[in-house]
């Protein structure tokens, strides 16, 4: 049974902020909520390597919400950028030009378009080389910054700008969401975890646990997205909660490839989650697409049967 060691109570969450307000990210952004909580453990001595995406808007020139550093890269090259930064820091420390206590954590910020599609090969390279860095993927299941186009993280049945409902494909997206967790795990990095903003203690605990490892530490953060998933911004935590409670977003970690589920949901019907969001509305109106809903449910059930059996 997985147990939290550091973060047992809500009031243990540090009150000091490390991601400051004034960014132009959407009101109710689930990705920002996760990053803000993560930064409470990461602190200020961080160099963020930001792949182009929604988080581009974090440090919109000439403003930055961080006390630490921020380097902007293309969508495909953030892990390569992280390698360069890590090497530069190591060389400076080895030559005595940077005191060891001024070392920085290198943290890649990438959306799902970057993580699942464009930066997959450079991530694989960084994992292969055992780069000592964090990877924080804010996953809102589509290319959000450009208007919600299909990414390989978009789940079956979601409607996006480039996978609309059509006569041929009434359910919208026909592809299944890529299992990036397993792709990462095949490289056996020391630490991988999934997190969701509605489970702050689970999130904080995982970042605290990751800090003990040298090498790649990867995080997949559910970024419930009012703008793209089409629900009221105030419902972000509720959407994130139902993603977890329906079993669609398993909270888990993998230490050196060994998977542990950190929270066992009661597996509510997936419908409860789908119904809240406009991107799935066509599954219920004007006619109910029972087959598509059943398909999503069966995949969730099969997952939990596999991992618990």
């Amino acid at each position: 049974m997985w147990q939290r060691e550091t973060f047992k109570k809500i009031k243990q969450i540090p009150s000091e902020e490390h991601v400051f307000p004034g960014t132009s990210l959407c009101a109710g952004c689930g990705g920002l909520e996760s990053l803000r909580l993560a930064a409470k453990v990461l602190g200020d001595d961080v160099l963020y390597v930001n792949a182009a995406g929604c988080f581009t808007m974090l440090a919109a020139y000439p403003f930055t919400p961080f006390k630490g550093s921020w380097l902007y890269t293309t969508m495909g090259s953030a892990p390569a950028g992280a390698q360069g930064v890590r090497d530069a820091l190591d060389v400076l420390i080895a030559k005595g030009r940077l005191p060891k206590e001024e070392d920085l954590k290198v943290v890649v910020l990438g959306g799902d378009g970057s993580t699942y599609d464009m930066a997959l090969s450079s991530t694989s390279g960084a994992l292969y080389r055992g780069l000592d860095f964090y990877y924080f993927c804010y996953d809102n299941e589509a290319y959000g910054n450009t208007g919600m186009q299909l990414s390989s993280s978009t789940p079956y049945g979601a409607r996006t700008a480039t996978s609309p409902c059509s006569l041929q494909h009434p359910a919208g997206t026909i592809q299944e969401k890529k299992d990036i967790f397993e792709i990462w795990r095949a490289h056996t990095p020391p630490y991988i975890a999934t997190v969701a903003p509605r489970y702050p203690l689970d999130l904080e605990e995982k970042f605290a646990r990751a800090a003990k490892f040298t090498g790649p530490k990867l995080f997949l953060a559910l970024s419930a997205c009012p703008t793209g998933w089409l629900y009221d911004p105030g419902e972000t935590p509720e959407v994130a909660r139902l993603a977890v409670e329906t079993g669609l977003w398993p909270l888990k970690e993998a230490i050196n490839g060994q998977v542990t589920h950190t929270y066992i949901p009661k597996l509510k019907p997936v419908e409860d989650y789908l119904k809240l969001q406009g991107r799935f509305r066509h599954l219920f109106e004007p006619t109910r697409q029972d087959e598509a809903i059943r398909h999503i449910q069966e995949r969730v059930d099969a997952y939990w049967k596999r991992v618990s059996g």
Binding site: G22, A27, E33, A59, F63, R159, R281
Partner: protein, 305 residues
Amino acid sequence: MLAIRFHGRGGQGAKTASRILGTAAFLEGFVAQDSPIYGAERRGAPVAAFTRIAREPIRERGIVAHPNLVVVADASLIGDPAARVLQGVGEKTVVFVNSPLSAEQFRAETSLPGRLTTLDLTEIVVQHFGKRGAISALLGAVAGRLVGLRQGSIHEAIARELAELGLATSDIERNQAVAHQSYETVQPVAIETGVPQPIVPAQLQAPMYEPPTRGTARISAAANSVLRETGGWRTFRPVLVPDKCNGCWLCFVYCPDGVISMTKDDKPVIDYDHCKGCQICVHECPTDALVAEREKGGGVAWRAK
């Protein structure tokens, strides 16, 4: 030609309103053109969209710099220099503002130029739907009334445009009902088209290229984003009812922007200069100690310092 400019906050429906107006004009046999500003259309951030209506083919393209009608979906935009609501607004321009104030009250508070008319569309939506929501159909209907389009074509345009967004038939019908009400209630102001202004082509500058050491944008400050206030994004604000608060910290934990801090005796303090009004704290408060209140007071609800 009539040129109409819509200003709203991302999520309010300014872009859809421009499409509803364009489609309605098209249905009546006019030539119509509609387009939003391309950019980051973020929830709460200022956005703009344009519609042009004419009897002849429209040669003009791009943003509307000299509007005949400006439709403002959120009064707080007027005080926001980034939104440029007043750009090209002269004495003859008709300005519609979604506000609980009357046109006279609003003019007294803001000394806004142009010929003003107001109606509280947000209140109509809150009353009919029981919660906040997009007001695209209402904005489209009001604009349609002011430019003199028929109610039937607005009705049909709303059906077409909202169906394209994937709205259910029942939701479309409810939107048509509130649009009908807005069409009937708004105080019309005659639009004078006047003498058409000659269009001056924009002067384009050839881009300059610099070596990366000079040409790369560098920020040498720490956490200076707080200089940028996002408080004006709100249409509703969270307000604490201190007696009900049990000091659980959940509002502080769930706030994406980190604008809630806790006092020593566990009471939340909200930084209204930066709160974007997402209402996560209101939704998550277990004791209903946080309530959403409509930003009141028309144009002076908030101003960039």
